[in-house]
Amino acid sequence: STSSVLSTDKDKSPASKDDATEGASKRQEDGAETPKQKLLDIIGDMKVEVSYRKKLQLKASEHKNQAMNKLEDVDSEGSVPQGTTEDIQRGKPLNPELVKAASAVASSLPLNKKQTESELLAQLRRHEETTDKQKKGETINIRNIISEMTVKRQSPAQRGARISGHISLEFNEDGQRIRPERWSSQSFDSRSLKVRKRLNIFTKASTEPEHALKTVSSPSIWDLEFAKEIAAITAQPPRNGFEEMIQWTKEGILWEFPIDNEVGMEDDAEFHEHIFLEKHLEGFPKEGPIRHFMELVICGLSKNPYLSVKQKVEHIDWFQKYFEEKKELLQEI
């Protein structure tokens, strides 16, 4: 197991801090046994991680140092076994500190989850920086990501939703329970997908399909489903008659009091538009029975308080079309 751990560290795979710390603890025990070259390489790996974590802990925005670190990391990433002189120089003063830090982390692992999380964040930050080569203002972005990560962990809304959604009481149409796992995974996906910078937790092969999925589904489906589920969870049955009446009013079953007689009727037209409808009679002949008929129609419409102006105009237009269609037949008469 120790050899496997060493091999994984040697390969520089994005191993979690736990594995690294376990490896470190094991290394401490086996430090005398394993050859020095292997040790140095491993310490070099460890050094990279710890150096980043220390800088972020200090929060000293020394851009030059970070730039240097980036370069060094890039170099170290690129050439693992070689190890530049700068790396070795940086590594050597940090080695005892590294060991101490690693021991502290290992001891603190089972106790404090937050520390492990922060270290994981450090690891992730380092990976992100090494993979992304276009960087400007590193601290700000890192801080954003850190803040986002912490907010995500500590969001009360999500916690409450999680708790309430643990035992899902929702039933599908088929009578099967809706799993809460799906919802939680959706929430995580939505959160992590919205963050533009990739944390590179997963390998690149897996991130690409996520990207594709996001671009396809971001306008609609999963967000809608998530919103629906939230609404369903938050919509509790009414505790008393007042809340029931409130719900009915929102749905439209119950009228709003004091009763407004003109609810739904939005007649913005003035009285003269209702009464003086002769201007709509321009398409008709000026003399004859049709004109006589239409004047009667207008008289009736002007006295009708229940129709809107639009409806009255529609009536007149229909008559106009009807008489135009029948013009040929009328002329025969």
Binding site: E170, I233, Q236, F293, L296, E314, W318, F319
Partner: protein, 128 residues
């Protein structure tokens, strides 16, 4: 009615659970005659304006008779269910065609049942 009971029990299940809290939904009409009445009402609503206008042409003494005859033919060509005379004001709960009070849309038996249980607002047993 058994179908209604089944749907009601299913809705009851949904009601017991906290979300999404739906109300009792009537997913079936009482009988086929009620369904046909509902269909007729929809068709009447669609053709109401047309019928009104064509009847305005038919029922006046100003326009020439030939025009009115043509309007007669047109109104006869409309679907038969668009005539409002075909609508029957059935009881809403039991689909009873007779003995229905218009204000409550209920048959006399159902009305009496609810009024005795004090579930009709403003209705009291008469005594004088």
């Amino acid at each position: 009615t058994c179908k209604r009971q089944v749907s009601q029990t299913l809705n009851f299940f949904n009601q017991v659970l906290p979300s999404p809290y739906p109300r009792q939904i009537r997913s079936y009409y009482v009988d086929w005659r009620m369904l046909r009445d509902v269909k007729r009402r929809k068709v009447v609503y669609e053709h109401a304006d047309e019928r009104l206008r064509i009847n305005a042409i038919r029922k006046n003494s100003i326009l020439p008779k030939e025009l009115q005859e043509m309007a007669d033919k047109e109104i006869a060509a409309l679907p038969r269910d668009s005539c409002p005379a075909r609508i029957r004001n059935r009881c809403v709960l039991t689909s009873r065609p007779r003995g229905v009070k218009r204000r409550w849309r209920l048959s006399r038996i159902v009305f009496r049942h609810f009024a005795d249980h004090a579930q009709v607002s403003g209705v009291q047993r008469a005594m004088w």
